[in-house]
Structure formats: C-alpha cells, structure tokens
C-alpha cells in the first residue's frame, strides 16, 4: 500500500462525510491486510533464524558434554571400551581440505580472473555456464568421478582422492565469487593503471586483484567452509580410517564421514561422539563465516569515497 495514495484518498474523503462507512471499511481492510502480511513475513524470518538456533542448541545440548581434551587428542576407542576421541578425523578433515584448497583455489582464482578480466564474448559465456552447471552437480556424482579417475587407477582409497573430489566441488564457487569481486572493482582503477603504461596483466596483478583481495579471500573462506561439511563424495574416495593415516596415499578419516558412521552405529558412546563431531564441524563453519563477515566489513570502511 502506497502512503501517498493513502494520504490522497484520506484527503478527498475527509471534507465530505458521505460514504464514510465504506471508506472506513476499506481503510480497515487495508490496515488489517498490512498487519497480516507483516506478521506472515516476520514469522518466516523468525523461522529462518530459529532453525539455525535450534540446530546449534541441539548440537551443544547433545555434543557439548562429550567434548573434552580426549575428543581432540585421542584416536577412536576400540569397540567395547569407553573414552577415545576423533583426533584422526579432525586432522583428516584438515588434510583433505588442504588438498582440496591446493586444487580448488588456484584453478578457481585464475579462472575467475580470466572471466572478469580477459576473454571475448562466447568463450567466457560458455565457461560461466559450465561453471554454474558444475556447481549444480550433486556432490555424490563428483565423488563417483573422483573414484573413477583417482581411486580406480590407484587401486585404493586415499587422502588424495578425497581431496580431489572436494577440490572439484570448490572450483565453481571459487571461480564465480572471484569473478564477482573483481567485477566490483571500478573501471576507473583499471584505466588509471593502464594510462600510466601498465599492461593488462600488470594492471590486474598490481591493482585490480589487490583492490578486490579481501572480497576474494572471503569468498574462498566460505568455499572451504562449505566443502568441510561434504560427506557423500568422501564415502568412496577418502573412505574412512579408525587409525592415523600417514602420508597421502591411505584411506583417511574425516569429521563428516565419522559423524555418519557413528550416528548410524548401534552404540550410545558412538552417538555421543557423533554429536560432539557435529558440534566441532558446525563450530568450524561458523568461525569461517563470521571471520569472512569481519574481513568484509573492514573492507567496506576501507573503500570510502
């Protein structure tokens, strides 16, 4: 409902009292519709927040009690024994994310730079389209892909294979977020550098990328946080491991897969560990997200003018 329109009809209605009941009814209808819609949208907004709050609360409630120094430092206890932790899964997730980053970040970064700064019309269009499609590919299919090209030739599950699968999932988001942040750099900065005699590549490397650096970094942090929770592609690439996994060539434990295994297991002890694992994973993702927000807000105050 438009305020000026309201004012206008009121202005016309007030001098005469004729038909004022119809007027009042219409106004009542308008006001109640306004109230109803406001309530419905607000309720939906509240649901969004409370789902997150509920998940967090539930995780803390169930997993909080199992969090201890042992959880972070010990291997899973042998069957029948109590205690033990998920140290190998935490380290394993770290190693998997390291490999994923080594694959996803350079390719995503360079691809994003290409899309934003170089290239003509048709090819970048195709790349962008393919990137969006790749982003939509279910992660389990990417797991099958990694299984086919890495696990099968190597004849066993490995950290490398799991990292590859996660890295592939990272690429499309890294490409698009890098591209978006580079595009947000004003054309004036590029022209200023080129007018001083900088080549295109020099302009990109010394002016455009540094100007967008914080944004790009944020996008990459969120990207890593996103794949940290991927489970499906790891099931038949990294598999799992109840022990430490030295090197990069062995099956390796990861938090999401451990949570999956423990949650469907028959023992109460396992369930407790799964809750705690979920809490740790969620905490990592939250830290990455909040960190990214902080970095971005600092940027906003930097690029005044």
């Amino acid at each position: 409902m438009n305020d000026s329109l309201n004012g206008q009809t009121n202005g016309i209605a007030s001098p005469s009292t004729r038909g004022s009941i119809a007027m009042k009814l219409r106004m009542l209808w308008r006001k109640s519709l306004n109230l109803v819609m406001l309530s419905v949208t607000a309720a939906c907004a509240v649901v969004t927040v409370s789902v997150l709050g509920f998940i967090l609360g539930y995780l803390v409630w169930h997993g909080g009690s199992s969090l201890s120094w042992n959880f972070f430092s010990k291997l899973p206890a042998p069957l029948g024994e109590t205690g033990g932790g998920l140290a190998n899964a935490i380290v394993g997730s770290g190693k998997l994310l390291l490999i994923a980053s080594l694959i996803g970040i350079p390719i995503g970064l360079m691809g994003g730079v290409y899309l934003a700064e170089f290239g003509g019309r048709t090819f970048p269009f195709m790349v962008r389209y393919a990137t969006d499609l790749l982003n939509g590919v279910p992660s389990i299919i990417i797991g099958i892909f990694a299984y086919t090209v890495v696990v099968v030739p190597m004849h066993h599950f490995s950290t490398l294979a799991g990292g590859c699968a996660l890295g592939i999932i990272m690429i499309p988001i890294a490409v698009r977020s890098t591209e978006e942040f580079l595009r947000a750099v004003p054309r004036g900065l590029r022209e200023a550098a080129m007018a001083l005699g900088a080549s295109k590549w020099r302009t990109v490397a010394t002016v455009v990328v540094p100007a967008a650096f914080q944004g790009i970094l944020t996008g990459l942090m969120l990207d890593v946080a996103r794949v940290a929770g991927e489970t499906a592609p790891l099931l038949f690439t990294a598999f799992s491991n109840r022990y430490w996994s030295p090197g990069w060539n062995q099956p390796i434990a990861s938090l999401p897969v451990m949570i999956y295994t423990y949650a469907i297991g028959p023992y109460e002890e396992w369930h407790q560990q799964a809750w705690a694992g979920g809490l740790v994973l969620m905490g990592l993702v939250l830290v990455a997200n909040i960190g990214a927000r902080l970095v971005l807000s600092r940027r906003a105050s930097f690029s005044r003018s």
Partner: protein
Amino acid sequence: MAVTGVPNPAISVRMRLAGAPGHPGETSTAGLPLRFKISNLNFFYGPKQALFDINLDVPVNRVTALIGPSGCGKSTFLRNLNRMQETIRQTRLEGKILLDGQDVLQMDVVKLRRRVGMVFQRPNPFPKSIFENVAYGLKINGYSGRLKEHVEKSLRRAALWDEVKDKLNQSAYALSGGQQQRLCIARALAVDPEVLLLDEPCSALDPVTTAKIEELMFQLKGICTMVIVTHNMQQAARASDFTAFLLDGKLIEHAVTSRLFTTPADPRTEAYITGRFG
C-alpha cells in the same frame, strides 16, 4: 548585467581574468611548435560514428580546452590521444594522430602512455598508500632510481606535498576528493609526461578545489602540454590558451581562447557559449 553593457556573459568572465592565462600576441596555432597533430580523425563505436574528420593542432606547453555539449565526443577524442579508447571493445579509429611527428598508432602503447599522462573525471587513486600511488608509474616502468625524491618532486608539482608529507604511508582514500584528484595528477606527473590529458578533472569537485586545480594547471604549463575536456565554459575561458568547440562529433571551431569566447566565427559556437543550448 545591463549596467556593464556587456551582452555576452562569457566575455565578462574573460575580461575579469584578462591577462591571467594566454600568451599575448598569439592569434593562432600557426608557427607554434606542435605536440599533437591530428588529421582526418574518424572514430566508431561499432557501426555508430562518434567523431567526424577532426583536424586539430595541439601546441607545445599550452593548454588546449575541448568544450561542447554532453555526448559531442570530446572525451572520446581526448581518450584517443593516449589510445585509452582502444581498450573498449568494438571500436575503430581512422586517420592520423602524430605525437612529435611520430604516428601514435604505430607506437608501443606503453611508451605512448608514459609520454601522455591522463587525469580522469572522478579521482581514482589506487587502494594503496599515498606514496605507493605516486610511485606506481615509476615502478611499472622499471625506474630504479631514488623513488623517494621522485615522489616528493611529483607531489610538490601537484601542490600536495605540504598537505601529505607527514602521512605518505596512509591510505590514499583518507584524503579529501580534491586532494585525491591532485594525488592523481601527481601520479600522472611522476613519469615526467610531455602531455597531460585531463578529462573533466573538476566536475566532481567543489569550486574552491576547482580553483586549486586550475592554479595548478597554470603552473604546470611550463613543463607540459595539457589538453582538458570541460563542460564548464568559465573554466575553459580561465584556464586555457586555445579552445576547440565540438558538436555532434565534429570540430566546429578552434581558436585562441580569448577570440573564441569574444568573437566566435561560427554561429553555433556563439549559440553554445552564450548558453542557448547544451
């Protein structure tokens, strides 16, 4: 206005500032050494022609102003002088632009842009420190001498040194708009260009800051040739030695500023400078 008996407002501007800029005795570019000689320049955006057959001489160490209504092609023309326009896709240039007798189109673009600096409409400092902004051009051109001295010299030339000497390492974004624009001028001057192209450099600035920039242009005349695009006729009258009037992509008139603003030869020029359109 009627009391003074001056019918043309542009003339009164000119009279008020009589003697400030300009070089007495010069009545045309004939006989002056030329920095740019532009002949038969045509420029196209895709199928649309933006500049038609432009011939213009830009004399050494003088300020040449380009005036004309919005969209007349004055910025397009200016940006062709350092080939910035070729960074825009699907554009085409015909004709000749000579810089000191050399064909600009045959020149290495990096060398060209080092000789022909540019200042843009909106201040566009890099998101780096004040020092790094000025040193940028030197660094990318492989200058390995005394950066500090060079940066100081450029900032002094841009009349900014005293305001920033204690905060060279601070972000350029901490400066005011006018200071940022002078920083951009210092950045352009750091590589010792022969020519400075100014694309409406004061349109985003307040009158006081504009006056500072004009003062600066006056001082810079001794060391470089300037071409300024402006839609502010008083600015053209105050700050330039020669003025070219463009309309719909065509050069209508080019003359000594004092003459163009007092006794324009073309009725369209007169109509524009007296404010009848544009």
